[in-house]
Amino acid sequence: MSVQNLPLGKAINLGLREAMLADPTVVLMGEDIGTLGGVFRVTEGLKTEFGAHRVMDTPLAESGIVGTAIGLAMRGYRPVVEIQFDGFIFPAFDQITTQLAKLTFRHEGALSMPVVIRVPYGGHIGAVEHHQESPEAYFAHTAGLRLVSPSNPHDAYWMIQEAIASKDPVMFFEPKSRYWPKGDVDTSTSGFPLHASRVVREGTDVTIVGHGAMVSMILQAADIAASEGTSVEVIDLRSLSPIDYAPILTSVAKTGRLVVAQEAPGFVSLGSEIAATVHEKSFYLLEAPVLRVSGFDTPFPPAKQEAIYLPDADRILDAVDRAMKY
């Protein structure tokens, strides 16, 4: 076992480096990712090590970046694209949803699209508009894309490498508020395949599911609940599409109660999807309806109001209380 204590951003950096060392067809593309090392410094040092031909500071055009990544993939490369912030992915929405997601199907399987799109996402950083959003549901709704989001440095290190190894397009959502806290990364073994969810805390009364930055918020809530006598089981989704339901259903069979928490707006979201599926599959095992905790169905508000918008431990505990009252 070989363990390093690293922040999540640095873990992705190391994962990218491993992937580039292992496979010369891996190329990175994005705005400011080369000389600057990205606005979050996730690609720091990689241009110096691998050269400007493998770490490309692209023109300022997201549709162009994803569209040309598709062409490079056709040519046998494995492009890893960085979108600078969540809210700036939309100029590339057409290329991602009508092309990247569907080219394999359109070619009747003759063509694979091994493209990774890295998206720093989510709030809690007090930034201006378009820099705090959680747009994953738009992409989860599109067949042909795989979506994952690591919540901790260990997972980030391995998941980025597994995402790059995948023959399918993978959208890799990086919880930007978690870039800096450190965690142990075991560089000898991953422990989980890319699309497996994971029980991160065991409990008996209520199950709470979440992904990305929400996982640490849920763990805080679970600590408080424990001090008040409620035992919470916490599941980190890790994969947003496909969703690995087995651990969730097993947990619900034990607790009979499920809360789904996310930063994204609740309407037509991952939380809605999970709630519907669990109701369908575990109806007789449930002691309470599946409850959702989410951002409001409003635009992400100005930074000074993010605390109103973003679910915190209290909002999660409120749902836990409601679930326990049934």
């Binding site: 000389t35 300022l60 007090g126 201006v128 635009p299 508000p301």
Partner: protein
Amino acid sequence: MVQLLTPEGKFAPSASAEEFLPYFEKLTDADFRKFYTDMVTVRRYDTEATNLQRQGQLALWVPSHGQEGAQVGSAYATKDQDHIFPAYREHAIAHIRGVDLIELIRQFKGITHGGWNPFDPKHKNFHIYTLVIGSHALHSTGYAMGITLDGKTNTGTPDTDEAVIVYFGDGATSQGDVSEAFVFAASYQTPQVFFVQNNHWAISVPVSVQARVPLYLRGTGFGIPGTQIDGNDVFASYAVTAKHLEDARSGKGPSLIEAHTYRIGAHTSSDDPTKYRTDEELQGWIKKDPIARLETYLRESGADEKFFTSVHEQAADFAADIRRRAVELTAPGPESIFRSVYSEPHPVMEEQQAWLAAYDASFEEEA
């Protein structure tokens, strides 16, 4: 490159400046002093905002330092009835159009996504900032299409003819939206000026990544003629923009101006420019400062020390007033996040606002 005022402050129009000189000649000494006062005031304001950000008062600041010449000259070339679509660094233009610069502070303090109503006459059609690079180019073109539909160009009364000017950076020229705006503008012959502030960098990416030919030529293939100007020469910026806008108002269609300038400060308060550009380059551009050259020119044409002292005092007062008000700004209550999502009543907004109010009240009961 059109230049009237050299970096040394000498009035020495380039050959290419000739067709624009009649516009310059309409200016008086009072205008020059106004240009100078605004440039100094906004630079002082910009420094104050940078300090406020460092002291934790603002979430972010986007400095305009270095680009005052391009901004002040072109802003004075607009008429009240024109519409202006800025990117996010056009503080001097906001000031000249009558926007209280505390509004920008509200935005960057994280209290609002916008800040002011462009349609309120006191803001003289200065639209709100756009953070999604290039997207507003299309809005400006659409607005200009509306002016044409309304028959408000080339009416025979030039004083009321309307035009649009849109500002964006060198990096923005790579966005599809900007090329599409060129296509629509040319197709519909919109009364509009595309004003590119080429400050040579898009965060850490040099302009050479965005364009292999000078950006003023970018429009040519679309059918949009362009002029390249020394953007640190406020006279060139004024005269060239005045002509381009007059052409637009009189029905001659869209055009483009590429203003060569430089972002002296960081891209934003989150940026560290030493990571990607050399001090030598920076020092070279500091020598071409737009304010210093106008100061030299004014001194040589008779402005006395009293004038400069009073401008700097006014600017300091202006900045102090902004600081005072910036510190006092507070965010509106939780109901505001539901308030303007839609223009008509919406059941989900009502339901979620009520839920939040009840939820917040439940804590007050506990306390």
